[in-house]
Amino acid sequence: MNFFDNRDRLGNLLLLTFSIVYLRYIFDIPLDSSTQDEVFTARTLPLGLAVLAIICSFFQLLSPPKDQPKVSALFANLQWKSMFLLTILMLAYSLFFSFLGFAIATFLFLTIGFAILGERRLWLGLSVAGGLVLFLWVVLTQLLDLYLDNGTLSRLLFGDAL
């Protein structure tokens, strides 16, 4: 595995993998019977790009490695746990946004986000989150006249009155 313990090689491996998968799915692009024989179809550009990308990343992958810090050493000193938790939090925000609505989802997102990054003063987290939600709600819905979903939960609890 030492072969890929290099930033350039690992990056190029990722690009090569993506390009091969992309190339595979080019052949699933449907072609209209009337355009099949044309010089330029829906597959032409993707095919050209995939071939170029594969050549480019393959060439770099086989080039002599540069003297770089090892990926394992570089990645070892990073705060993966916080980033992982924040990523899960963002995914949860996107999944539950329609159910909870803008106000509740955002309030929870910010409060939990502050806590993940080590903000222990609960009153501060709650007041910043609450203040920001209120401020944005007023600006977006009242000043800019944008629609913000109140969420299924609010509709279940309060009906369409909100």
Binding site: D8, A42, L45, L86, T87, Y93, S94, L117
Partner: protein, 514 residues
Amino acid sequence: MIEGILAGLYTAFTPTNLMMVFIGCFAGTFIGMLPGLGPVSAIALMIPITYGFDPASGMILMAGVYYGAVFGGSTSAILINAPGVSGAVATAFDGYPMAQRGQAGKALATAAYSSFAGGTVGAVLLLLAVPILADVSLSFQSSDYFALMLFGCTAIAAFSGKGQVLKAISMTLLGLMLATLGEDPSGMQRFTFGVPDLYDGISFLLLSMATFAMAEALLMVLRGDSKKSQQTSDDLSVDKLGSMKLTKEEVKDIAPVVGRSSIVGFFVGILPGAGATIASFLSYGLERNMAPRDKQRDFGKGSIRGLAAPETSNNAASTGSFVPLLTLGIPGSATTAVMLGALLSYGVQPGPRLYIDHPTVFWSVIISMYVGNMILLVLNLPLIPYISKLLDIPRKILVPIILFLSLIGVYLVSFNTVDLTMMVIFGVVAVVFRLLDFPLAPLLLGFILGGMMEDNLRRALLIWDDSWAFLWQRPITATIVSLSLLTIAVPAVSSLLQKRRARVTGKVIDVTSE
């Protein structure tokens, strides 16, 4: 043209638009000060807010944000040696030493005056160059546009850092590949896997927010910056800034530097892919070489010339980068790529017809750039000690807010939560590529140019009866394609030659040591 300028002046000076420039400069300065968040993130964050605006006001706000962010980047470079944007790295070389010896106020004033001068010269050159170039480009055909977009893609790769050329090409290709997702111009579904949310492809806003604003915030978390306290309060107190006045001798000293750097910056800025960073380093190097020997020694130790050169140049380059965008509809940098996306979303097609079809948008944006420079000088400079207090917000509070603003920014445009999920995935992938030192600006540029490139290529083939001969038979196309090949070939060949020379030298040393 005069009518257009007058209409632009009228639009730019309406109270609403003046307010837009002011808000833009103010918000841009604040965002640009935050290390990692540059003009691209600042503009991307503004796009959802400007969706309901008319195109002129939206673009004016964004132009203000752009200048504000560049200025903010320089401010943090001078005060805390943390350039907010790469274009301000050279500013820190002499700006920070000046601040350390108690001349922070003078350094900030020099940066502001130099930026203003660079912006002014840039705006005048833009005013002169754009109509001429736009007239010339009216004779361009689809094949020429295809070639120009190819040139844009190769140029950004060629101007990326040493050893980054191939990586930048790979990332441009990745951007071009991502642009093919969704319905193609003939109505065929590509890579949608039957998922209706993918039929329209990926939105540029989603990708730019994920790769810049969100990725930067996540990188702050990964590197542990979110747990560090800010170092601004002590450094930025009003008392510690010192005088903001320049002496007559200092003004005389920097005047020729500012003149030269403005012109260098503007022309470097025009080149697709070059931008403010290269312009600032080029001017810094040029001025160091041209300075008298006694002044040369001061470079890197707090030289006022060393500060004025990159500051003038990066602002002039920012203005210059609007030339390809406004005349050809081709963005030369990630920032102008985001602006191009914004213009398209307003239903405005940038290019040679912009100043004929939408003269108000065209001229008001150019005039607002100048107004933006004035606002930065007159209002932002005195406010710096106070604006910088906002940076006392701890990162552990700031990071979740940036993440939230990125997410809600994308949601407010599409009202589709699937976009948010996609954005998180792209954000994480962008973080991985950033950690592996792969540049993301070429990805965004490739993505933005991809759709237009394919459209123009199809049209060119249609005009030329399915023949690729336009690539060598049409002079303009052939010239631009040759230039594109040269921009890629020259750095690659010179790098190979350097390696060979190093190998030969190594062998000679080996032989002599034996």
